[in-house]
């Protein structure tokens, strides 16, 4: 029995930190018997839920149904194929951009979509803006978002075919004087910095490269300028798989 296999119990109980979770998740993809065991152990804990059943507050049902009605569903995973997009697929671009705005909240995005709008005479679009637009319009773009404790949220649009993602951080709590939010791409449990916001900034849009094969995009709070390794816990984590 390998050492990593003994993590199956802790994994099923969510009793591991995000980095180990990502590493073990990678192991599960290569170890069908481990994945089956985790599934059974997870199912086993569901048997306890009868002991904690509690009627939710009255307004929850309407709130959930209203929010779900306004939330697009992810499509089943399709086998990958080479993507050749015809030029000028504005509708798809616009739909993805609209999804990001909806997820990130109005006012936050102001970037990529309505970048440089007020600069007189400026029709130039930076290379990074073009890349952001390409990710938002990618045929295999996936959108995910998560709320952050203390307020705000992080939305990520990722494209495996482009090997890039766009992370939109919106109205996060103040990182504190002299601190900054930093993004990380986590592959096989190893974090790599994917950009640092300016100190004190509570939102921003970052282009994240090298996401193919990675498991997680994470956000941490770090000293201004960022750190070489993430300071746990993660403020937000979004699975890429």
């Amino acid at each position: 029995m390998t050492d990593i296999h003994t993590l199956a119990g802790a994994y099923a109980l969510d009793a591991i930190d995000p980095l180990e979770r990502a590493r073990f998740g990678r192991h599960l993809a290569e170890c069908p018997s481990c994945a089956a065991e985790v599934a059974e152990l997870t199912e086993t804990m569901a048997a306890f839920s009868g002991a904690t059943t509690e009627a939710p507050p009255a307004g929850l049902r309407a709130a959930v149904l209203a929010r779900s009605a306004a939330t697009p569903q992810t499509q089943p995973a399709e086998p990958r194929r080479a993507v050749r997009r015809p030029a000028g697929r504005w509708p798809r671009w616009a739909a993805a951009a609209a999804a990001v705005i909806a997820l990130a909240g109005a006012g936050a995005v102001g970037y990529g979509i309505a970048h440089h709008p007020a600069t007189p005479g400026s029709t130039r679009v930076s290379a990074e803006d073009k890349q952001i637009a390409a990710v938002l319009g990618a045929r295999d773009a996936r959108v995910d978002s998560v709320r952050v404790a203390g307020g705000g949220q992080v939305a990520v649009v990722s494209s495996d075919s482009l090997n890039e993602a766009v992370a939109v951080l919106t109205r996060l709590p103040s990182p504190g004087a002299g601190d900054a939010y930093q993004l990380w791409v986590i592959s096989d449990g190893t974090p790599r910095s994917a950009g640092v916001l300016a100190a004190g900034r509570t939102g921003g849009t970052e282009l994240v490269s090298g996401v193919r094969g990675a498991q997680l995009i994470g956000v941490t709070r770090e000293p201004a300028g960022g750190s070489r390794t993430p300071t746990l816990p993660l403020v937000a984590e979004l699975p890429l798989t």
């Binding site: 802790a10 969510d14 152990l41 086993t44 804990m45 569903q73 992810t74």
Partner: protein
């Protein structure tokens, strides 16, 4: 679940009625605060709607899948809140009465099979599982709390869950 994955809102409402009390109850045990529990439950159920196509019945029941998402989100949230409290050095944030929650859960286990099976575990197996599951603790935290080594706690969690699984006859596929 197939109908939910196909975008059927009525099917989702039916699913809500079937699982909301179990999801909310579990989340509230972990995050404690009812308003926070309501917020997390809402996020979880919208996530279920959004990602319903990822549900794989070969990997377990719909309730099991939903409760696993609920547990994961609740634990994330409680750890983030705890970290925020630690940063602000809020008084008293460190001492949380997990034991009360665990005692309550154990007392309320209505299904005789679950009670009986839980009794077949060693006390360390039982405590490791309950502290992690309802306390949102990592196995490192559990090891520290129980004064045991990391490999021992990992093993106790896995062995304990396997014993519960076999005792309850949980099998998939």
């Amino acid at each position: 679940m197939n109908r939910v994955a196909a975008g059927d809102e009525d099917a989702f409402a039916t699913l809500y009625d079937a699982v909301a009390a179990r999801a909310y109850g579990l989340i509230r045990r972990i995050v404690r605060d009812p308003a926070l529990a309501e917020e997390v439950t809402q996020d979880v159920l919208v996530e279920v709607w959004r990602t319903a196509s990822r549900f794989n019945q070969q990997r377990g029941s719909a309730a099991g899948w939903i409760l696993a998402i609920a547990h994961h989100r609740a634990v994330d949230r409680v750890r983030a809140e705890q970290a925020a409290a630690d940063r602000e050095r809020r008084a008293g944030a460190a001492s949380v009465p997990f034991d009360e929650v665990i005692a309550e859960v154990t007392a309320r286990l209505e299904q005789e099979a679950v009670r009986r099976c839980l009794r077949t575990l060693t006390s360390v197996q039982r405590e490791s599982i309950m502290l992690a599951y309802y306390g949102g603790l990592t196995y490192r935290d559990v090891a520290e709390r129980l004064g045991a080594g990391l490999p021992a706690i990992k093993t106790r969690m896995r062995d304990g869950l396997i014993r519960l699984r076999d005792c309850l006859g949980v099998t998939l596929g």
